[in-house]
Amino acid sequence: MRGAGNDEDDAAVSVRGLSVGYGKHVVQRDLDFDIARGSIFVIMGPSGCGKSTVLRALIGLLEPLAGEVLFGAENFWDASPEQQDHLRRRFGVMYQGGALWSSMTVAENVGLPLSEHTSLDAATIRRLAELKLALVGLKGFEDFYPAEISGGMNKRVGVARALALDPAVVFFDEPSAGLDPLSSRRLDDTLLALRDGLGCTMVLVTHELDSIFAIADDAILLDPQAGTLIAQGNPRELREHSTDARVRRFLLRGAA
């Protein structure tokens, strides 16, 4: 635990001594970091280093082997099931492929969390879904089924759905993977604008350097050999000032 009193207030999510893995196989251990409120935070690292595994522990899908995941002052993994559900409503998640519910239209996908967790009437939910879809550039696609729109659009609907409940924290797993450079750029711009508009905290898992340098305020770099994080800070500054050869190699595409 850190001593500083207002540390807790500034951090949307705090991770303390987190170790994650599967059975006896520890993927990442002893992670300590704070995700500042309103920031765009990136978990980066080469493929297979355990980014998704760490993310699954943060969003409550995989119980960590040790450590705490704190939302404000509440430890997710110590909370009762009801408290966990309550915490889940305060964050949104966008999955790698969109993970849209294929039997529902795009607007129904975005509206489902609203109709399950608020007492709003159907017309208001529809208006909110239209707004969220317009925010990600999908005005007019409300009544399409996920199979009827492209992969990049599916991802954007995934973003809109993650934002449905106006969460305080939004998690993204590889948001720009599989997108062409232009769409990926557009998605980055959208995320920045959404963060500025909604004031939410965004946590991204990615290894796309262009995107990392464009939008990240803060980042951690996970290393598969070390099995823990080897650098923490603003990625542009890390690129310029880090003395660790592994960090420079990753951030300069091996050109260090």
Binding site: S103, T118, T124, L131, K139, F141, A147, L198
Partner: protein, 379 residues
């Protein structure tokens, strides 16, 4: 993110010459109950208002609920020809409104009719039935060609796959086939005995059960069980593979899915369904015997003699030919629907349902056809 209840949302307006100033106050959030909008907002025009402005000094919290409110107001203003000034809205709200206004990168064309009128639906169903008969025959033909290649040793076919599928569709189906067949035997014998005992012809229950099982019921019940158990599994398996582009990957690797995936399943079912039917015959006759021995007091030996007198190998053969045909139908409808599957989880569900329905419908059609054929041939 404090959990204290924020001030309730309120809405007032004041006129400032030709400007109407809207003053939202309190928390305008998803959890809030919004106030009814003041009359002035419903009819800005008659009051001589030409502009609407905001005063958000009283607004303590907002989220997309407030943005939706502003957007709705903006739409109404646009329709009434009144200008709306965004300048005094919170910075974040302005940013979101601009983002939402940005032209979508591609205009949506209509998603195509999802609404269905009754007559249209009936017509579509009829067309779908005729089409599925054609598809089934075409697919069977393609499978036969693949089988021809297999006989000439030129098919990409893995015997191990087939053996594994045979175990899955054969041995592992024994419990359910036993249960259903014994029950069918029991029911036939019981219903039959109610009628036959009126004529004092109790021992003919054995004949009834044996003939019914051998010629019709064993094959039919096993076919239907297999349609539900195995046809559905084939459709779900191949459907998921289609959805994941695994089938496309086979095609581009120059491995015909017809030989690699369909043929082992087809052969496994065509071999195992008649074998299961033999077993179902035995179980059905055992079920009939239970009623005969316990309820009707027929001697075991007499029941056996009566049964042997009722059916000959020809009767069993007619049933087994049907069983083989049902095997083709179940395998083909399962694989066909799987390979026609769309690219989503919902499509896999639809493919599975469709495989079972197609399987059962064509089992019944085939059973009727073969019965007539047997009649004509005098078998």
């Amino acid at each position: 993110m404090s959990e204290t209840t924020p001030a309730a949302a309120a809405l007032t307006t004041r006129t400032d010459d030709t400007r109407l100033v809207v003053c939202p106050a309190g928390a305008w959030t998803l959890a809030a109950t919004l106030p009814a909008s003041p009359a002035a907002l419903h009819a800005p025009e008659p009051a001589g208002v030409t502009r609407i402005a905001f005063d958000c000094t009283g607004l303590t919290a907002w989220d997309s609920r407030f943005v939706v409110f502003v957007r709705e107001l903006e739409e109404r203003c646009a329709a009434a020809g009144v200008a709306l000034e965004r300048d005094d809205l919170p910075q974040g709200v302005r940013r979101l409104l601009e983002l939402a206004d940005a032209a979508p990168e591609r205009a949506a064309e209509s998603p195509g009719g999802h609404e269905r009128a009754f007559l249209r639906e009936v017509g579509l169903q009829v067309i779908a039935f005729v089409r599925s008969a054609g598809e089934l025959i075409e697919f069977t033909g393609a499978a036969a060609v693949a089988f021809g290649r297999l006989l000439r040793g030129r098919a990409r076919f893995r015997v191990l796959d087939m053996l594994r599928i045979m175990q899955d569709v054969g041995a592992e189906a024994l419990p359910i086939v036993s249960l259903i067949s014994i029950l069918v035997g029991l029911i036939l014998a019981y219903i039959g005995s109610l009628q036959l005992s009126q004529f004092g012809a109790d021992e003919y229950v054995a004949n009834l059960v044996a003939i019914a099982m051998a010629r019709e019921m064993a094959a039919m019940m096993t076919g239907i069980i297999m349609a539900g158990r195995t046809g559905a599994a084939f459709a779900a398996q191949l459907g998921t593979m289609t959805a994941n582009e695994e089938i496309d990957a086979l095609r581009t690797a120059a491995i015909p899915p017809m030989e690699f995936l369909v043929l082992p399943r087809l052969l496994a079912l065509v071999l195992m369904l008649p074998l299961l039917t033999v077993y179902a015959n035995l179980m059905g006759i055992v079920g009939g015997a239970v009623v005969g021995l316990l309820l009707l007091d027929i001697e075991p030996l007499q029941y056996l003699v009566q049964t042997r007198g009722a059916v000959d190998l020809g009767d069993f053969a007619t049933g087994l030919i049907k069983a083989a045909a049902y095997g083709v139908i179940v395998a083909v409808s399962g694989c066909l629907r799987g390979m026609q599957c769309g690219r989503s989880a919902a499509a896999v569900g639809a493919a599975t349902t469709s495989a079972v329905v197609t399987g059962i419908v064509f089992i019944v059609v085939c059973s009727a056809t073969l019965t007539v054929v047997y009649q004509v041939l005098g078998i």
